[in-house]
Amino acid sequence: MAIRARRRIADISAFAFASLATVFGLFWLAWILFTTLQQGAAALGPALFTQMTPPPGASGGLLNAFYGSAVMIGLATLIGTPVGVAAGTYLAENGRYTRLAAIVSFVNDILLSAPSIVIGLFVYEMVVVTLGHFSGLAGALALAMILLPIVTRTTEESLRLVPDQMREAGFALGQPRWRVTSRILYKAAMSAILTGILLGVARIAGETAPLLFTALNNQFWSASLTQPLANVPVVIFQYAMSPYDEWHALAWAGAFVLTAFVLALNLAVRFLARKGRRK
């Protein structure tokens, strides 16, 4: 009887452990989101989107930072996506079963989790030192380098999910490989690849470390890619670390907008991907 009772307790405690662990995980999510919402909503206002980042003690907005972030994310996507899709195509199609593909697939996974601060240092060495100054271009390249392995990985995985019959059908019609890939396989894998790209965009939107010494920051409006470029994450970092209340409020507002953007993109992509799969 005692043994039974003990085993019963052991059984229930496993249940309790797993449930508590899940509650523990969700608790932090709720706490962080609540804080961001509460502090951010208080600092929201039309000025946020119409005014520039202010000097200490003055009020202002984040217009130049939003602009700079949008430009760098857009440019990074334009650079990283084609290279990533091509590399993923090699891994899944042209280079399938080759040793190079095996090595690159391995290396790509490491690049995927590589510390983003090191990527920032690398781009600093390569671009900033070469050009002689910080620039929005360097920031975009650093972000592209973070996006690249994400796109490569999802392209590889999506193409692998396309059944071989579709390739064979294409070849049977006398089509060369590049046409089979571009006209048939890309079409079949399109929604999955797009999902990967969008999740990659969500990821680079919040990246701060690689921008610290590539794009740096700019308190003023600048549209030049060869000059230091304001961007939301670095502004949040500098303002949050400062001793000024006005800057703290702006940092929270930026944090709120950034989090809302990233989470909305994540949820939308997941929702669409699931809908696509069901179809």
Binding site: A14, A18, V83, L91, A114, G206, W252, L258
Partner: protein
């Protein structure tokens, strides 16, 4: 018919070769990017390595004015905070994976899994801000006084919990890091848990096993290499995480045993000081730190990947 075949015949082999070359070049590019990163870090850090030798790793002095750079404190801080992160994250992640595969009512599994994955989507700078403005004061007001009073008096490990309760320090940073790596470990663990052949678990159930026994004697042994891989994946993330740690670690270059004291980490030191580095040696020392970080995470992530490949082969996957 002819319409489909004609353009293909016309643009035949040449276009195909070009397409193959472009994709292969992109694949080489990924490879070169990693190699170039390693080489440029080593090259950028050569001045620090040649000036200090092994002393760069073992030296405890980080004296900007005197131009002496020993990286022991940031290395130590990186390792300690990552260790705390794993102590927090590993059991929680396994619990979450167990919950999602075995315990949760079916309709809650999707939403809960997505919510846990969203923890990974939140930008690390948000963790940092929350850590600095909300979590660190909370630790200073509630957790750390308790730890000092109750854990600080234990001989031995008590030394880890001494000092003023200021909230900023290795313990806080480690916990924040732990929260950040939970989704990475949990998602791999969940995936491999659900790949355990049902027959194995059902046999254990039929023998009257408790849920602990199923987890500890069937599921975990069967998925061991993948779980180790997942833990190393989480470790790789924790070691290189920058922004969250920069906010809550305090950027102090003094070595202290107590987890409640401010410290530094490799990534945080680079983030805080790189733009202020005004001498060649200072900048080189920070890049050398980046090189060390890169090498260590490379090794850790390689182990992770090899472990994960092992389970995939076992499950009959080809990649």
């Amino acid at each position: 018919m002819g319409q489909v075949l004609r353009p293909a015949a016309k643009s035949g082999a040449g276009a195909d070769r070009a397409f193959g070359l472009v994709t292969a070049a992109a694949a080489w590019f990924v490879l070169l990017l990693l190699a170039a990163t390693a080489i440029s870090m080593a090259w950028g850090g050569r001045l620090a390595f040649s000036t200090f030798g092994w002393g760069f790793i073992t030296g405890k002095d980080w004296d900007v004015g005197a131009g002496r750079f020993g990286a022991f404190v940031p290395i130590y801080g990186t390792l300690v905070t990552s260790a705390i992160a794993l102590i927090v994250a590993v059991p929680v992640s396994i619990g979450i994976a167990l919950f999602l595969t075995d315990i949760a009512p079916r309709w809650t599994r999707g939403p809960v899994a997505i919510a846990i994955e969203l923890l990974a989507a939140i930008p690390s700078i948000i963790y940092g801000m929350w850590g600095l403005f909300v979590f660190a004061p909370f630790m200073a007001a509630h957790v750390e006084p308790w730890a000092i009073q109750h854990l600080g008096i234990i001989p031995g490990i008590g030394a880890l919990f001494r000092g003023p309760p200021i909230g900023i320090g290795m313990l806080t940073a480690g916990i924040v890091l732990g929260i950040m790596v939970i989704p990475f470990i949990a998602s791999v663990a969940r995936e491999v848990f659900s790949a355990v052949p049902p027959a194995l678990r059902e046999s254990a159930v039929a023998l009257g096993s408790t849920r602990w026994e199923i987890l500890s004697r069937v599921t975990l042994p069967y998925t061991r290499s993948a779980i180790i891989g997942a833990v190393f994946l989480g470790l790789g993330r924790a070691l290189g995480e920058t922004m969250a740690v920069t906010f809550v670690l305090g950027n102090a270059h003094d070595l202290s045993l107590s987890l409640l004291m401010p410290s530094n980490s490799i990534a945080a030191a680079i983030a805080n000081e790189f733009t202020e580095a005004d001498t060649e040696l200072y900048r080189s020392s920070l890049i050398a730190l980046g090189f060390l970080l890169f090498v260590v995470t490379f090794i850790v992530l390689t182990i992770a990947k090899l472990m994960l490949m092992r389970i995939n082969r076992r499950l009959g996957r080809t990649y």
